[in-house]
């Protein structure tokens, strides 16, 4: 019974809901959740009235910064981010697509200078309709958001 409760609700922390199905694992890496000690619950391909199916992430004892919340929008523009205190939603973090990211992604271009130099990647975020792409500040190549890997 306790195990079931820990999956369905968190006491304090953050719930990221309405994640586009298939993007939850990338968000895990984006937030570095795989390498800290916070308890994390992931739901994949859950039924959703709005999206058909969705992913969901619950993070115990961590509230996201505004920048972290905005970076999630790159992968999941309609995600909702709720701050939980004592099992209640106390805040909804408003998000917007960031215009740039620093050190978040690895440039997929193998010939990009960021692949050999000890420098942070730097991408401009470009939104055209529903299409979100990233343009490398250095090599100037444009990539679909599904082509970029999160820097680990």
């Amino acid at each position: 019974m306790n195990d079931m409760l820990s999956v369905s609700a968190i006491k304090n922390g953050t719930v990221i809901d309405h994640i586009v199905a298939g993007q939850a694992l990338r968000i895990i890496y984006l937030l570095g959740l795989q390498k800290n000690n916070n308890q994390v619950t992931i739901g994949l391909n859950l039924p959703s009235k709005r999206l058909g199916i969705k992913d969901l992430i619950k993070i115990e004892n961590r509230v996201l910064t505004e920048d972290e919340a905005n970076e999630i929008v790159i992968f999941s523009p309609v995600a909702t981010i709720n701050v939980i205190q004592n099992f209640q939603v106390v805040d909804k973090i408003k998000t917007h697509l960031p215009s740039v990211t620093h050190g978040v992604f690895v440039c997929p271009n193998h010939l990009c200078v960021t692949q050999i130099e000890p420098i942070s990647s730097y991408h401009y975020i470009h939104e055209q309709g529903k299409k979100i792409s990233l343009i490398c500040h250095y090599c100037e190549k444009e990539f679909d958001r599904d082509q970029v890997k999160v820097a680990v």
Partner: protein, 308 residues
């Protein structure tokens, strides 16, 4: 008196330049060529840093520097450098920036010139970074087109060859966005223009179409800009098949407009047959010689606050 906005400016990508700056460079180059002005960069030291071999770009920069009384240090390849010992490009370029008034860099990595501009405290000119940009070459193309056709606006221009990886092509297309031109994109399927650049053309209202043979477009265009297709991107059989469609020979020009001019950034391998050299359409050697005046104009404008 108008300001020289190019003074101390880095020239990394064609998008770093606005239309007024491009016009200023072209006008200054014209004045230099017609000997209407004398530009000097006396007492200025330029570091010509070529991490990969180059003939025309390196020598035309050197010629431009010497013609204006400047001095040059540098290297023609990376064989003697500490990068071979593991030194980062950032450290190498930061050190060189301490020796020189301006850096010219060619490097096989995309984005290396942008990185250099960030670490160097002197202006930087990109002389070709991997498959990314070659902005000074695009300026040579614009200058040559203006010279042989009087104006760039209203022209039909065919871009032939490797439109996917060719850095000269990428910079030239950025340059075309500033003008009212019609583009014919002629390349093998494997080397078509990247989607992201096609999107830019659409967004700016530049008309363009795709073609797979040079002969289709010859009667329609004023400029035929041919680039090399690198054999290593294909199997031997593919290359033989493709090559035959992208070689320009003199007899293919029978239906050409009278004012057509053929451009090529050089070096050519066999994509422009030698018999084209003897036709009135060939303009690639004049284009190559324009490399010196364009680079003179750039260096003069970047290193002198006063307009020439």
């Amino acid at each position: 008196m108008s300001m020289n906005t190019l003074y101390t400016k880095d020239i990394i990508s064609f998008t770093d330049l606005n239309t007024e700056e491009v016009q200023l460079i072209l006008q200054t180059a014209k004045k230099i060529k017609e000997r209407c002005v004398t530009c000097s960069i006396q007492d200025k030291l330029i570091a010509n840093c070529f991490f990969e071999p180059s003939t025309r770009t390196r020598l035309s920069f050197e010629a431009a520097i010497f013609r204006m009384g400047g001095k040059v240090i540098g290297f023609p390849d990376d064989s003697s450098l500490s990068v071979r010992k593991g030194e980062t490009l950032s450290d190498t370029m930061r050190v060189i920036a301490g020796y020189a008034d301006l850096i010219v860099i060619r490097h096989p990595r995309d984005g290396s010139a942008r990185l250099t501009a960030e670490v160097a405290d002197c202006p930087v000119i990109n002389a070709g970074d991997g498959a990314n940009q070659h902005p000074t070459q695009a300026l040579i193309e614009l200058f040559s087109i203006q010279e042989c056709q009087s104006s760039i606006n209203g022209l039909s221009i065919a871009l032939v060859g490797d439109l996917k990886y060719g850095r000269a092509i990428h910079s030239f297309i950025e340059a075309c966005l500033m003008f009212d031109v019609r583009l014919y994109l002629v390349s093998p399927e494997l080397l078509i223009l990247p989607d992201s650049i096609c999107d830019k053309l659409k967004k700016r209202g530049v008309r363009f179409s795709f073609h797979q043979q040079i002969e289709e477009v010859i009667p329609k265009v004023d400029i035929l800009y041919i680039t090399r297709i690198q054999q290593e991107r294909f199997t031997e059989t593919e290359y033989q098949l493709i090559q035959s469609k992208f070689i320009l020979t003199a007899n293919m020009l029978e239906k050409a407009k009278k004012n057509l001019k053929v451009l090529h950034p050089l070096p050519r391998v066999n994509e422009v047959a030698l018999d084209v050299d003897h036709t009135p359409y060939a303009y690639y050697f004049q284009q190559a010689s324009n490399g010196v005046v364009i680079r003179q104009a750039l260096l003069a404008l970047i290193l002198n606050e006063e307009l020439p």
